[in-house]
Amino acid sequence: MNAEAAASGGTVTNRVTYREAAREAIRAALRADPRVFLMGEDVGRYGGCYAVTKGLLDEFGPERIRDTPLSESAFVGAGIGAALGGMRPIVEIMTVNFSLLALDQILNNAATLCHMSGGQMNVPLVIRMATGAGRQLAAQHSHSLEGWYAHIPGLRIVAPATIDDARWMLSAALACPDPVLLFEHIFLYNLEGPLAAEIGGIDIDRAAVRRPGRDVVLITYGGSLHKCLTAAEHLAAQGVEAEVLDLRTLRPLDDQTIMDSVRRTHRVVVVDEGWRSGSLAAEITTRIVEQAFYELDAPVCRVCTAEVPVPYPQHLEEAALPNPSRILAAVRQVLAHGESP
């Protein structure tokens, strides 16, 4: 936040990066509530693998900005325990790729304790993770597993894809009595844009239409949002008005807003960086068939990552991931469907 914004307050907007917005969200949370503390690998001295937490150690000290050893199961479990014990921890898992080492704690403890204890205990924990591919980090560092976590009852899963969401979603997540997993796609950190100074009541329950349209809806989240917006601009030049729907919350899914878009456009493309089989895109497609079957003028089309471990070379990675070209091809397909052969 540069000086003149802070000084004037009010609704003046200034230009920040997604990274700075995310940092400001953590800073504001730490200031607002003494129970809040941050824990994760290299979040302190190193300043965060993606530099989101740079400078927080100097401002809040080592007790509330806690570097951990490379012991994901231990420090995520510790986050759960601290939440049970009355704190409001923010745990950073460097990337979703390392969260697999803490999957047991997340699934069998964080997500399950409330129900297992008959509602006596809830886990007000927020876990932040970087996610996604596109920086040639190869197979083990390029996973998109939001769909896995969105499968687990007891967890809330959110994916801030805009600078405003990066800034304001965290407070809503911290206020939630249940564990919230917040996914930050690595492509978004350098995103720069205006940040509204004060947005009251940002929720984590609703999807958002980022671009209204008429002929087709692109349903997406996180790192794929901006690919869809790019595709939508190309389509507009062709006279095709594409609606772009940012899911924002992946569990629970905002069925109401999804079906509204389907009713307006009758043609659907779901863009999801996960692998197609058993993906979030599969779940969304099934719900549309269950709830808006007669609104469909064409089968739902999905654009997902090719079912391969993400390869290192740029041209193979690009071919594997959803990209505007593949989104445009999918739109052509749903628009052509059903026209006279």
Partner: protein
């Protein structure tokens, strides 16, 4: 040799940095691995090193400025630069461009059009129609709008569409003749469209055949007499079994020769229309048997008791105009068969026999062939075999 010292990329997602401090000034010597400047990145201050020994020639970027990755920061005079030029100069094979989103998708997108139903905006209550029903309506040529107006408010399914189509049909029972007309039309249109026909005609001296026939008929009771048509059928059958390329089907882009010879005999119906049921194994039956079967066939056609198999079994068709009609008949092949023999009427004509001009009963025989299977030379050979058999009826 002077080298550009550029801002290196220091991280997977680093796009630029702020040059905070120069550690060398023009004229200073610099060693490989020695820090030349300090830049401010999202991750903090990072020293950037020179990869060559040499002397700083000039500082290009000013301290405090934001510089994109790859921008020239300084120039260095280097002695060690004579080793292999830094990889940057060597042209790397281009990354296949097809992968990168073409800048202007517009051209490739020309065929994208907004769906026709302009009403999809704030359409009033939209009657639910199942995809299957929508497709069936399309097949039956019923517009979605008319579907939507049908009574009731529930979803429209396939059976609803078919009921609607049935009601829309004319109350009178469809005229069978009309249905047959459509069937013949469709087959003939398809034949014209798909089969490259070639036609050959030849006049045949029918005198011997007629003479033979009159003699035969005079020796048998009325019920066992033959007609000219059966002679032609027998001749074509024998010719077809002799030259197999005219006897069979053209399917899946290739010719399938038939093992047996079933002659499709064109029988005109009263008041228009034509059927061509098959006389099975006509090459293996004598004229007497063929005549009985042919006679039975015509009787059943007249009385409408046809067996469906008989319509599809024919491997080649013979058609004629009977006793009064055109001189020459140019028939259309009945798909999937690959040939058809046509006979005009027999008429008295001047004809040269052994150099003398005589009056003879001539029959104009034609054959239409499928050029995908046979060609003119084979066609005329086939025609000549038929003509020779008719000229020597005792061989039939």
């Amino acid at each position: 040799m002077q080298i550009d010292f550029k801002l290196p990329s220091l991280g997977a997602d680093m796009e630029s940095a702020i040059l905070t401090q120069w550690l060398k000034k023009p004229g200073d010597t610099i060693h490989r691995g020695e820090a030349l400047a300090v830049v401010e990145t999202a991750k903090g201050l990072i020293d950037i090193e020179s990869f060559h020994d040499g002397q700083v020639a000039a500082l290009v970027a000013a301290a405090g400025t934001k510089v994109p990755v790859g921008a020239v920061l300084a120039r260095i005079d280097s002695e060690t630069a004579e080793i292999v030029p830094s990889a940057a100069q060597v042209p790397a094979p281009a990354i296949p461009s097809a992968v990168v989103l073409p800048k202007r998708e517009a051209s490739a997108m020309t065929e994208v059009t907004a769906p026709r139903t302009g009403t999809s905006g704030a359409a009033p209550h939209r009657r639910p129609i199942s995809p299957a029903a929508r497709r069936r309506a399309h097949e039956l040529g019923i517009a979605a709008e008319t579907l939507a107006q049908t009574a009731g408010s529930g979803a429209i399914h396939v059976e609803d569409v078919e009921k609607l189509a049935a009601q829309a049909a004319p109350p009178a029972a469809p005229d069978p003749r009309n249905a047959m007309r459509i069937a013949i039309g469709t087959a003939m249109a398809r034949s014209k469209r798909e089969i490259p026909h070639y036609y050959l005609a030849q006049a045949v001296d029918f005198a011997a055949a007629r003479e033979w026939l009159t003699g035969y008929n005079s020796r048998v009771p009325v019920g066992e007499r033959l007609i000219e048509g059966v002679l032609l059928i027998r001749a074509v059958a024998l010719a077809a079994s002799k030259i197999g390329d005219f006897n069979g089907y053209f399917r899946n882009e290739r010719f399938e020769p038939a093992k047996s010879v079933h002659i499709g005999t064109a029988i005109a119906l009263r008041g228009g229309g034509l059927v061509a049921p098959a006389l099975l194994d006509a090459d293996r039956k004598d004229l007497k048997t063929l005549m009985q079967e042919f006679s039975d066939l015509v009787t059943r056609v007249r009385s409408g008791h046809m067996r469906s198999g008989e319509f599809t079994a024919a491997t080649i068709t013979v058609t004629s105009l009977g006793s009064d009609g055109a001189d020459v008949l140019y028939p259309i092949i009945n798909p999937p068969q690959v040939a058809i023999v046509g006979a005009g009427i027999v008429t008295e004509r001047p004809w040269v026999v052994n150099g003398k001009l005589l009056v003879r009963p001539l029959l104009n025989l034609t054959v239409a062939g499928d050029h995908r299977v046979t060609d003119g030379r084979a066609g005329s050979r086939f025609l000549r075999v038929i003509a020779d058999l008719l000229a020597n009826p005792e061989q039939l």
